[in-house]
């Protein structure tokens, strides 16, 4: 079986003259939990909608569950779960009616799981959908996407409107369904702390391209901030390979680099007769460093 659940190659997409995606390459391995990070307006939603075949590509190629998403078959859709950023979810129905309505579309539907989650997530099955708060509606949408136990779950900013308690419960549900490593999850977010806990991979979308995609641990291992204090004043440009940001102030310098290794540190020490301290960066710091202008 193919090891990639999602394969994209050089995906381009624009709207009315505004190019959003400019050559996205992103391969998602089977069984992984991938966090898609990007600023507001970076094109996360556009990319997700392209992946799901809701948008047609201007150029490039996507394979989703082994098929072209634009003509995705019913069989593939049975293996796919999707939580959009915003969905109105039949305001005139009751929660349990929405669940029954959605469930009836799927040949396999885990009723017990949904009933348990409704209880755990404190949704009232007899409540009408329309007066639900945005967060509750989001919970319901997530729940609906889990009912058929999809192989691939795609979530567009799923936790944006959830309170911390609901967020933790949501993350637990994600961990629960992925614990057997048979399922793949792709979710976009700009809340880095969500991602740090559950994601094992992270992809960063910037300027219409994926500028980084690898294991989260490896990202934290390789992106570091160097605090350099030299014996004599430093030049304004230090020319350190993989520099993300560089601030020089006399004999002191703060440099963020993306691929730190010992040679780099040794090189700096020798070249400017400096002491170098390596500081760890968390995901939010890394994200900020990568978007530094």
């Amino acid at each position: 079986m193919n090891n990639w659940v999602i394969q994209t190659q050089d995906v381009h997409k624009g709207f009315k003259g505004k190019q959003v995606l400019l050559g996205v390459d992103l391969n998602v391995p089977h069984g992984s939990v991938v966090g898609l990070l990007g600023k507001n307006g970076a094109g996360k939603t556009t990319l997700i909608k392209c992946l799901l075949g809701l948008f047609r590509l201007d150029d490039g190629e996507i394979t989703l569950l082994g098929e072209d998403p634009w003509t995705l078959s019913a069989a593939a859709k049975e293996r796919l779960g999707y939580v959009p950023q915003e969905v109105s979810l039949y305001p005139w129905m009751k929660v349990q009616q929405v669940v029954a309505y959605t469930g009836a579309f799927y040949p396999r539907w885990n009723k017990a799981l949904i009933e348990r989650l409704i209880k755990e997530w404190e949704l009232d099955p007899d409540a009408k959908v329309s007066p639900l708060s945005v967060g509750e509606r989001q919970k319901l949408a997530i729940l609906l996407a889990l009912g058929h136990e999809p192989e691939l779950l795609v979530l567009d900013e799923p936790a944006a409107s959830l309170d911390p308690v609901a967020r933790r419960e949501f993350l637990r549900a994600i961990l629960e369904i992925t614990s057997d490593r048979a399922r793949t999850v792709l979710f976009s977010t700009h809340i880095t702390s969500d991602l740090e806990r559950v994601a094992d991979r992270v992809a960063i979308l910037k300027d219409g391209k994926i500028i980084y995609h690898d294991e989260l641990g490896r990202l934290k291992d390789s992106v570091k901030r160097l605090q350099i204090s030299a014996a004599s004043p430093l030049p304004t440009s230090l020319n350190i390979p993989g520099t993300l940001r560089c601030e020089v102030d006399g004999q002191e310098a703060l440099v963020s680099v993306r691929d730190l290794n010992d040679q780099v540190v040794d090189g700096i020490r020798e070249r400017w007769n400096a002491t170098v301290q390596v500081r760890d960066l968390n995901l939010e710091d890394i994200f900020l460093e990568m978007h530094h202008v």
Binding site: K49, L72, P91, W92, K111
Partner: protein
Amino acid sequence: MFERYRAAAMTYIRPATSIPMAALLMAVLFPILTSSPPYNVKYITSIGLMFVLLEASFLAYHVKEQIANYRSTVMPRFCTPHIVVALTFSLVLILLHTLLLGVFGASILGALAIFSMCLATGLWVHHFHPGVIGVVLLVGVASLVGTLVLIPIVDKSSNSYLYVIELILSGSPAPATTTLILSIVVIAGWVVRLMHLNEEMFEYHLKLPFTESDQKAQRDRIRANEQPPGMAARFDRLRGYVGSGTWKRVRHWQLGNAPTTWILTVLCITLFVVYYLVTMATGIPKEYDGTPIPGGFIGFALFVFFLPYLGALRVVGRGCDLGYESLRPCSKPQLVRELGLAAALDMFTAWAMLIVVWGLTIAIWNRVAITPLELLVIILFSIGGNVFLFGVTAWLMRFHSLTLVVGGELAVGGGVLTVFALGFTLLTFVLRRELLSLFPAWATLSMLLGLAGVLLAWYSYRKWCETELG
């Protein structure tokens, strides 16, 4: 000081307000252009009444939208300029109509009074339940269409207005003055209501679906709809997987359409009955040269083509979730097909219900028996027309614009088809004895309309399959 008033006036410069307003203002001249001397004052008045009602409604909608906003609370002296500007526009409006009527010899006082009454109604329209808004506006549009088509053809002077309208219009000081004063009080009440408009008043949240955010609000407004009886039972009957049979799936998708048939039935019955009573009262002609015209028939001809328009509103409401729903297990062509059939099913259920209501109305109120042939004509033509409109709607909906759908529906359904139906109806009844010979023409026309509708729907289906459902 002056700046604030200018800013308030500037808000009217937007397509959603300025285009209909301009069109309606231009229409002041409409009666003169459409009739020839000797001018019929009643005709000019009845058109003027509808125009004032619709214009006032647009004005009121606009000014309410400006004020139903956090800005009106946060910014100092925000409301007054908006209200003053709206009142100024209103005054210009009724003065124009009054003067026009004066030129043709009507009593200025009477005209002023009657237009003020209409203005007051139009201004208040948006402070009621959406159903009431719909009824008032649709009766307005329908009466306008009826007046435009019927009075020039039929009315020479014989038909009388409702007694009260006649009395006010005559310019007798007592009724005219009383009406004028009452209207001013009602308008003052509207001003007070606006000045105190706040989030706890329900009309604060009522929006017309002009912009995208309004359309979102429109969707949320469906919340007010109770589930029709029997719907809960349909949910309860759901037992797991619905299966792969087309009919079962269509019925299932239909469950996910907003409760269209329920709303449509209620709306149509209300509209139809109200319209029927209004036309009976205000004197849209009931006979021509001694041949009685079944009023119910005219009402039916007016309303039957609004059905797809009302249905489309609900399906467009669903449209925003279409991308999400397209990921349910079925291929895209299957999705489009099944959703289309579900919408068609909704529409034709409503059509069937209207036929029943119409039959009842005729049976209760009408003076003329309908022959089986006439019945067949009515059924055939309304089916053909509605299939055609269904095609038009399916095609228009691709553009994801509610305004376009509504506009298109009003133009094609409310305008072309209705006028056609009315003209033909009249002709049929006028030449009642020759109906038999006219039948082939009706039947052919209905079939052509139906065929065009089917072709259009097929074309739209192909296009929908290629559309980004986002």
